[in-house]
Subunit: 192 residues, 2 copies
Amino acid sequence: MPRIGLDLPSLVHAATELADTQGLEAVTLATLAQRLQIRSPSLYNHVNGLPDLRRQLALTGLAQMSEHFRHALADKSGDDAVRAFSYAYLSFARAHPGLYEAVQRAAEPDDLLLQQAGNDVVQLAVNSLEGYGLRGDEVIHMVRVIRSVLHGFVSLERQGGFGIPLDLDDTFRLLNQTFLEGLKAMQTKARE
Amino acid sequence: MPRIGLDLPSLVHAATELADTQGLEAVTLATLAQRLQIRSPSLYNHVNGLPDLRRQLALTGLAQMSEHFRHALADKSGDDAVRAFSYAYLSFARAHPGLYEAVQRAAEPDDLLLQQAGNDVVQLAVNSLEGYGLRGDEVIHMVRVIRSVLHGFVSLERQGGFGIPLDLDDTFRLLNQTFLEGLKAMQTKARE
DNA sequence: ATTATAAAACTAATGTCATTAGTTTTTGGC
DNA sequence: GCCAAAAACTAATGACATTAGTTTTATAAT
């Protein structure tokens, strides 16, 4: 029984690598244990079963997203900020597909920590939409819109939903342009 | 051994109900068999294991989507057509969440039937974008954009991704307006 | 240094699920 | 009535998550 010196962060790190290379559904206690040279019941010393492991993945995922987005948004405003957010979103999802997937599962209503981590990310999206004259609830609605656009693209791209061999980066450029134009048109309307 | 008179369509129908009420991940051979008052190995007389069952769900799902969208698009054009497509998309996803989820899994490269069923749905999206002066590949890119927008919204809504208690239908209205304005702006630009 | 304790590993066992092999029964066509 | 194929079955295997109970090791207190 040579103690391996495993701790939660390195366990989650190993799980993250598994998720990003093999897909989230490949992250089982069995595969993770195998990878860590451990028997799977031993994982219960660090994590409360598979659901908890998934939650841990969501937590790191959200933290990393916040960090990534914050960095991308630094010193940006207006269209630059929106575009920066979009491209940061895309690049994160492409670089960390498994983590991205882990983040999608909704938090339990009583899981305030996970909820807060999600809110932090959403707040960054809110920041990127400053300066378009959106009032009150409009901001929230518009954040939902841009989240929809970005998540939809990322999700379809990753699932192979776009069958035709036509450059996906071109599509993403058009997507951003279309959204920005729409956003500005809404701004104009709101001013009337 | 009282023969139950099961056939593929009714089996898929039962699976559909399970998926729509309990979620796609609740559709296992075990639960389906239980529901049909059968032992699970007996399902192999009708379906080639769980992957094939999922494929059957995707096939019916896509067929029903095509039907639903075609009906919604009848006699519509311009903004009406785009809006009709959007609302049909949303209403389908809300009415058949399990089926919608089943449809998302990508087709194997050699699965021409499933691929065609997907293309049929995409073609309806293409139709709805007629009359915006999009040229060549622009149509395909823009279809990807609207699919992203709609899938993203539906997916986030279903996963409970929108935490704040603010009316989702309001968001969806704004989403459509924003997309339509963006679409028209792109149209204008393309004319120059 | 010694020892007590808690953490971290382990083995063994259970239950669920998908899947395969091989068996029985029914039914529809002759 | 008969027979072949379809549709059900039982039995068994292997993957997985999880629980219970055991052993070892590290560390902190004496």
